[in-house]
Subunit: 246 residues, 2 copies
DNA sequence: GAGTGGTAAGAGGTTAGACCACTAGACTCG
DNA sequence: CGAGTCTAGTGGTCTAACCTCTTACCACTC
């Protein structure tokens, strides 16, 4: 399992690659403890500082967690979030993200309403239907829901016919997804979001730029309110659980 | 700048935090080289391995890039890199770029007017003075003019306080520069552009968001008109020279 | 028997100093 | 003037030691 690493490239990069391989092959599973640093360094045929650099890099990527006096452990993939500590920093960025959504998606809806094709319109409609169907499944797949929601907005950006706008919207939604900051699973949010989406779609169908733009603005603002409300809720819960522990 | 780090937590984590702070405050800018590891370790009052672990972590996050034999450098935030990579593949035309300038720079001016600091305001003013001086030189350097013009608009995006807006504006102006699509050298354009810049600056100075936003919109539209007028002109000239050759 | 405290083993944390490998630019030679 | 060489400075790696924290165990006390 812990063969000496190969030849090319930075030593610690090679170590990182090897550990990532073991993670992919699930020979290292979540919760496993790695060998002690000294021992692992010997197994890999490297020095301890080099191994530690590799561990640092994997820690920064959220693949490993290091516990002083205990060992190095494989932790959950970052998709399953529990990083309560990062909430504060996330909030700062979230303001920026939603502000940018409004900046980008309102003109996108306006331009799309002027020039969207019937095909693209049909595609948007079917995306919304898929989203609706995905909600009604027994075990709604969070990632699928988030992707379908993003697909709807990206479809509008594409229909707007501005490549720069489209790519920027792409990156923005990537960041939103990776931050798992979607509001879809908030209780009561589903119906609201659904109505808002339909209003945007109506604006596009009517080829009414002003209507589409208004609907897009309303949607982004509503999503933002929901996101911040949930965040405040989570922080309150985190604070009270801290008190309970005392 | 490189004060010894504080007390709590892992040493290399504290170093990471300090470097991140310098990056946020833009005391370290994209492309900057960090001090040599040995020197930097001494400045921070830590050992070289500890510093190297911190550098590894920041490298894994994509904030630093290490070049053997050269040094450690600050690189673009990942989201900006993604956007640039995506746009490299897609072809973007001038219509798209100017449309996006309006989308981005109008809100930028509005937000900047609400929160710009006196320092940032002074910097913008001096950028405009430099731009004016550069015009009056015997042999105006086109690249310098374009960079100063971009610096003014990027300064506004920075003052708007939204990182994503700032990064997107960065990429946008890079593309404009690389396409040599600046309107500054068009006859009669200098004075007009100067007046428009001053109107934006006035809006910021008055802390009047609506005024700043209107001035920014007017400026982008005027620049767009100038660019397309010149382009039409050039095409006409090209066509007539083609006729002449026959 | 339950609770308390000390102790030691083993984990990560940090340091020092040395040497290797790569890069760029200055220098020298043809 | 060009091409090869040299050198200074950079990151890359290693060794070996010591520090600090966590845990488990065990003797001690009540």
């Amino acid at each position: 399992m812990w063969q000496p690493v190969g030849q090319r490239g930075n030593l610690s990069d090679r170590i990182v690659a090897q550990v990532e391989l073991l993670l992919r092959e699930e020979r290292l599973k979540v919760g496993d403890r790695l060998p002690p640093e000294r021992e692992m360094a010997q197994l890999l045929g490297v020095s301890r500082p080099s191994l530690r650099e590799a561990i640092r890099a994997l820690q920064a990527q959220g693949r490993l967690v290091v516990k002083h006096g205990q060992g190095v452990f494989v932790c959950e993939p970052p998709s399953q979030k529990d990083l309560r500590a990062a909430l504060h920093r996330a909030e700062v960025d979230l303001h920026d993200l939603f502000a940018m959504r409004e900046v980008l998606e309102v003109p996108a809806a306006r331009w799309a309403a002027e020039k969207i094709s019937d095909d693209a319109l049909a595609e948007l409609r079917s995306t919304l239907e898929e989203l609706d169907a995905a909600f009604d499944e027994e075990a709604p797949d969070f990632e699928r829901l988030a992707n379908l929601d993003a697909a709807f907005h990206l479809g509008i950006a594409r229909a707007a016919g501005n490549h720069f706008l489209q790519q920027t919207t792409n990156v923005l939604h990537d960041i939103l997804l990776s931050g798992m900051e979607t509001t879809l699973l908030i209780p009561g949010r589903r119906e609201k979001s659904r109505r808002e989406h339909l209003r945007i779609l109506a604006g596009l169908t009517e080829r009414d730029p002003a209507l589409a733009a208004r609907a897009a603005r309303a949607h982004v603002r509503s999503a933002r309110r929901a996101a911040f409300a949930r965040m405040a809720e989570e922080q309150k819960r985190a604070a009270s659980s801290l008190l309970d522990e005392q």
